[in-house]
Amino acid sequence: MRRGSVTLALLILGCAPKPVPSIEPASEACRLFADAPQRLATVTVALPENGVTPIRLDCRGSARPGLATSWSHDASGRTWTITLRDNALGSDGRPLTADRLAASWSERGLVGATGLVDSIIVLDDRRLAVMLGQVGDSVPSILADPAFSVPLAAEQRPAGVKFEQLTGEDPRDALDRGTDILVTQNPAVVEYVAGQPDFVSFNLPWTQTYVLLEPGSGTDSLARALSDSQVQRSLADAARVDARPAEPPFWWSELSACTAHTAAEPQHRSSRVVYPEDDEVARRLAERIVALTPPGTEVRTAALKPAELGVALRNGSEKAYVLAAPRRSLAPCRDASGWPRTASILPLIDTRDFLIVRRGSPPLSVEWDGTIRIDSIRTPGTP
C-alpha cells in the first residue's frame, strides 16, 4: 500500500446472491468512507458523468436497482420482464417510458442478431420483455453493461454535485483550485495529497489489464522474451502506475464461441509494437517490450491514432499491439471483437486507479467495472 493512502474500505454487506428479483436498496455494499463525517453541502467531482443502466452491479457483482426496480424471467430463462421505475425522466425532461428506452437501444444497434439482446417487446409504459442471446444467470447482468445506459434529466442527478472534466490539467492543480473528488493514475498525486490532512486517497479495484496481442508466431515472438517472472515484474516498474503482474481469470480465454470476421493473413507485417497514442501506460509497456528485445533487432514502438489502430487491428499488420482491456467483461465477444482472431494474447499487468477525496465529502460507492457513484448527498447536520 502506498504511503499516504488509506486502505480501501470496501464493506461487503449484502453481497451474497439474492433471490431474483429481490434486491436490497438499503445495502451499504461497496461503499467508500472517508475517515470523516460528511460536511460539504456541494462537491465538485472530476468524474465521468455516466448515465444509468436498468441494472447496476456493485463491486462484488451483485445486482442493484438502476433504471429498473424489478426483473423476472420466464421458464426458458432467456426472456426477462423488466419493470422501470415510475419517476425516471430522460435527458430532455420527459418521462423515460419503456418504448422510449427500447427505441434508444435499437437505435444504438444493441438489439438484433448482432446485438447483445435478440429482441424487445414493450408491454406497457413501464414494462418491457427482453429476450437475451443466451440463458443468463439469476440476473440479466448484461443489462448492467454501460452500453445500455441512458442519460437522466439534470434534476434526477444527485443534488449538490457539480461534474467537471480535467482535460489535460494536472490533477494537483485541480485539487488546489477546489475539486473535491477525482480519479487519477498518477502516483505523484497520491504523494502530493499524503501530506495534506484535507484529503484521503484510496486504491481502487484492479479494473484494467494490459495485454500484448501478437498476430504472428515464430521464433522471434515477443512473448518469449516476457516469459520470465522477473521480467514480468519489471513491467510494473516500467508502467509507472499502480500495477501488478496480471492475474487470472481472464475473460478472453473463452472467445472461441464468438463469431468474428476472419481477416486474410497480411503479406507484410511490420516490426512495430503499436499502442494507442493517448495511453501512456501502453506506451511505457511497449517501450519495455522493445527494450527486452536483443540489440540490433528492428523492433520499435509506434503510437497510432484510434482510427489507425482500428484498421491495424483488423488487418493484423503490425508485429504486436499493447492494449488496455477491462478486467471484467459482460460481453466478451463484443469487447474482443476488434482484436485479430489469430493473435496470441499475453496478459502483462493489472492496473488500478487512485481515488482522491476531500474529507467531508459524501459517501461513494464502487461499481462492478470500477465506476465511482455518488448516490446522494445529505444536507450537513441531518442524521
Partner: protein, 563 residues
C-alpha cells in the same frame, strides 16, 4: 558569295566575336576567384568545427561531472542502488531522464560495474539490461565518441563521453552526450553550398557528381546495436555542393547567351538593313544598265544622292546621253544610206510599174498606126492592165509617202499638237481627256513628227480601251527639269485599258509586233525611233489590269528658239 552576304557576315563577326571573348574571360576569372574563396571558407569552417567539438566535449564533461557529484550525495539514489529500496525504485528509474532534460543532454545512462543499466534517460525502460561495452570502451576516451544506440522508437546517434562516481565503495559510470541530428550537422557547415555529412564506418565513400569532398575529420565511433561493439572510426565529411557554383556558372552563361542572342539579333537586323541599303541601289543601277541597248536608250539614271552611288548614277546617265547622241547620229547615217537604197528601190519599183504601161502604150501606138479602127477595142482590152499598173504605182506612192521626211528643228507648241490630235481621233464611247500645262510648253522638233508620235500613242490607247464602258484616255503635258537639270516637256498618255505583261511590254517596241488583227506592227517602233530622233526618252508604266501610262520626255525649247 555575294557582296551583300560578305557585308552581312562581316558586321556580325565584328559584333559577336568581342562579346564572346568578354564572356569567356569573365567566366574564367569568376571561376578562379570563387574557388579561392571556397578554399578559404573551408579552412575556416574546419577550424570552427574542430573548435565546436572541443567546446562540446568540455561542456559534456562539465555536466557529467556535476551530475556525478550530485549523484554521489543523493540519498535516494544510494538507497535504490545499494539497498534496492522499493520505495526509491521509481526515483532511480526516472533519475537519468530528469537529469538528462535538466542538463540539456540528449543521452544519459547510469550503469554499475557489471554494465547493468540502472537508469536511462533516452530510453527509460531499458533499465536492468546489461551493456558492459559502453562504459568499458568510453572510459578510455578523452574525446567525444560517436555512439549509435537505440530508443524505443528509433536508433539515435550521439556524441558522448563518460564519467564515473563511487557510492558505498561501488563504482558507477555515467555516459552522456548530445544528439547529432541533421540540423546540428547543417549548422556546422555555416554555408548553404557547403555541407557536413556524417559517414559511419560501413558507409560507402562520398563520390557524387553533385559535390566534391573538401575535408574529412575523424571521430571515434561505437555501434551499440552491433553484436560485438568496438571502437571504429567515423568521419565528418565536409563537401562542397557543386550545385551552387554550377548554378552561378549557368546563370552567368545564361545571361551572356541572352546578351549574345540579343546582340546577334540586333546585329543581324542591322547588317541586313545596311547591306540592303548599300547594295540595292547598285543592283537597281545594274538592272537599268543591263536593259540599255541602241534601241533602248531611254533609261533614267537621275539620282538625288550625293554619295558614290549618286556619282555612279550620274556617270551612267552621262554615258547614256552620249550613247543616245551617238545613236541618233548613227541613225542619221543609216537613214541617209537608206535614202540611197530607197532611191534605188523606187527606181526599180517605178520601172516595174511603168513597164506594163509602156508596153500597153507601145501596143496602142502600134494599133493606131496599123489598125486605127481597132484602137478603141484594143484600148478596152488593155485598160485593165493600165488600171492595175496605175493602182500599183499609186499604192507604191502612198507607201513611200509614209517614210519620214526630213526633220525640222523648230519650237513646237505641244498643247496645240495634242488638241489637234485629240480632235482628229475617232473614238467610239471612249472619253478623251487633255490635262494641259498652263505654261504652254514647247519642244524643239518637228510638228509633223510630234503629231505622228501622238497620233500613234493616242490611237493605240484608244484601241486598247475600245468597247470598255467608262474607259478614258488622258493626255497630260507638263514642264519638268530646269534649275540645274535639263528642261524637258513631259507628255503622258494614260489609258484605263487592260495593261500589259512584262513580256508584252518587252515586245511592244519591236518591229511588226502587234496584238490588233489589222495592225502593221510598226506604230510603236516608229514612235520610238521618232522620239530618239528628237533626243527624247520614252518610258512605259503598265501592269495587267491597271492600264498603261506612256511617258515621253522631249527637250524643251529655249525661250529664244524660233517657232
Amino acid at each position: 558569295m555575294s557582296f551583300r552576304t560578305r557585308l552581312f557576315l562581316g558586321i556580325l563577326a565584328a559584333v559577336l566575336l568581342p562579346l564572346g571573348a568578354l564572356a569567356y574571360g569573365v567566366r574564367g576569372e569568376m571561376d578562379r576567384r570563387l574557388t579561392a574563396e571556397y578554399e578559404q571558407r573551408v579552412t575556416s569552417i574546419v577550424a570552427n568545427i574542430e573548435a565546436d567539438l572541443a567546446a562540446l566535449n568540455r561542456t559534456v564533461a562539465g555536466r557529467l561531472g556535476a551530475l556525478a557529484s550530485e549523484l554521489s550525495r543523493d540519498t535516494r539514489f544510494r538507497l535504490a542502488a545499494l539497498q534496492s529500496d522499493p520505495g526509491s525504485r521509481q526515483y532511480l528509474l526516472d533519475y537519468a531522464g530528469n537529469a538528462m532534460r535538466l542538463s540539456g543532454l540528449t543521452m544519459l545512462q547510469i550503469q554499475d560495474t557489471a554494465g547493468k543499466i540502472l537508469s536511462s534517460g533516452h530510453f527509460r525502460n531499458e533499465f536492468d539490461l546489461v551493456q558492459p561495452a559502453l562504459p568499458r570502451l568510453i572510459s578510455n576516451e578523452s574525446r567525444l565518441v560517436l555512439v549509435r544506440t537505440r530508443t524505443a522508437e528509433s536508433p539515435i546517434l550521439a556524441l558522448v563521453r563518460g564519467d564515473s562516481l563511487r557510492v558505498g565503495g561501488r563504482r558507477y559510470t555515467l555516459v552522456g552526450g548530445v544528439g547529432i541530428e541533421s540540423e546540428r550537422l547543417a549548422g556546422l557547415s555555416q554555408s548553404k553550398d557547403l555541407s557536413v555529412a556524417l559517414m559511419l564506418p560501413e558507409a560507402a565513400p562520398v563520390r557524387t557528381t553533385k559535390s566534391r569532398v573538401l575535408r574529412e575529420i575523424a571521430v571515434p565511433y561505437l555501434d551499440l546495436l552491433s553484436s560485438s561493439p568496438a571502437i571504429a572510426s567515423s568521419r565528418l565529411v565536409i563537401s562542397q555542393s557543386s550545385g551552387a557554383l554550377e548554378g552561378l556558372r549557368r546563370s552567368v552563361d545564361r545571361w551572356f547567351l541572352t546578351a549574345l542572342a540579343i546582340t546577334a539579333v540586333v546585329a543581324l537586323l542591322l547588317a541586313a538593313w545596311l547591306s540592303a541599303r548599300i547594295s540595292s541601289p547598285l543592283r537597281a543601277l545594274a538592272n537599268k544598265t543591263s536593259e540599255i541597248d541602241l534601241d533602248r536608250l531611254d533609261q533614267d539614271f537621275d539620282s538625288e544622292r550625293h554619295d558614290e552611288v549618286g556619282a555612279l548614277s550620274r556617270v551612267l546617265a552621262a554615258m547614256t546621253d552620249r550613247l543616245r547622241t551617238g545613236s541618233a547620229r548613227l541613225r542619221e547615217v543609216e537613214r541617209r544610206a537608206a535614202v540611197g537604197d530607197l532611191a534605188r528601190q523606187v527606181n526599180h519599183d517605178i520601172k516595174n510599174g511603168l513597164a506594163p504601161i509602156r508596153n500597153v502604150l507601145r501596143h496602142l501606138a502600134q494599133v493606131a498606126e496599123q489598125e486605127p479602127d481597132r484602137l478603141a477595142g484594143v484600148y478596152i482590152e488593155r485598160k485593165n492592165t493600165l488600171d492595175s499598173s496605175i493602182e500599183y504605182l499609186d499604192t507604191l506612192a502612198r507607201n513611200y509617202a509614209r517614210l519620214s521626211p526630213a526633220l525640222e528643228h523648230v519650237a513646237c507648241d505641244v498643247n496645240a499638237v495634242v488638241e489637234r490630235v485629240l480632235r482628229n481621233t475617232s473614238v467610239n464611247g471612249t472619253v478623251l481627256q487633255a490635262k494641259l500645262s498652263d505654261a504652254s510648253p514647247r519642244v524643239v522638233g518637228d510638228t509633223l513628227m510630234l503629231r505622228r508620235i501622238l497620233e500613234n500613242l493616242v490611237g493605240n490607247a484608244a484601241d486598247s480601251v475600245a468597247g470598255k464602258a467608262g474607259a478614258t484616255v488622258t493626255v497630260t503635258t507638263e514642264a519638268v527639269g530646269g534649275d540645274g537639270g535639263a528642261a524637258r516637256v513631259r507628255i503622258t498618255v494614260a489609258d484605263t485599258g487592260p495593261g500589259m505583261t512584262r513580256k508584252e511590254l518587252d515586245q511592244a517596241f519591236d518591229d511588226f509586233y502587234t496584238t490588233k488583227p489589222e495592225g502593221t506592227g510598226l506604230g510603236l517602233s516608229i514612235v520610238r525611233r521618232l522620239i530618239l530622233d528628237l533626243t527624247g526618252t520614252l518610258r512605259v508604266e503598265t501592269s495587267p489590269g491597271a492600264g498603261t501610262r506612256v511617258i515621253v520626255e522631249l527637250p524643251a525649247a529655249a525661250d529664244g528658239h524660233a517657232a
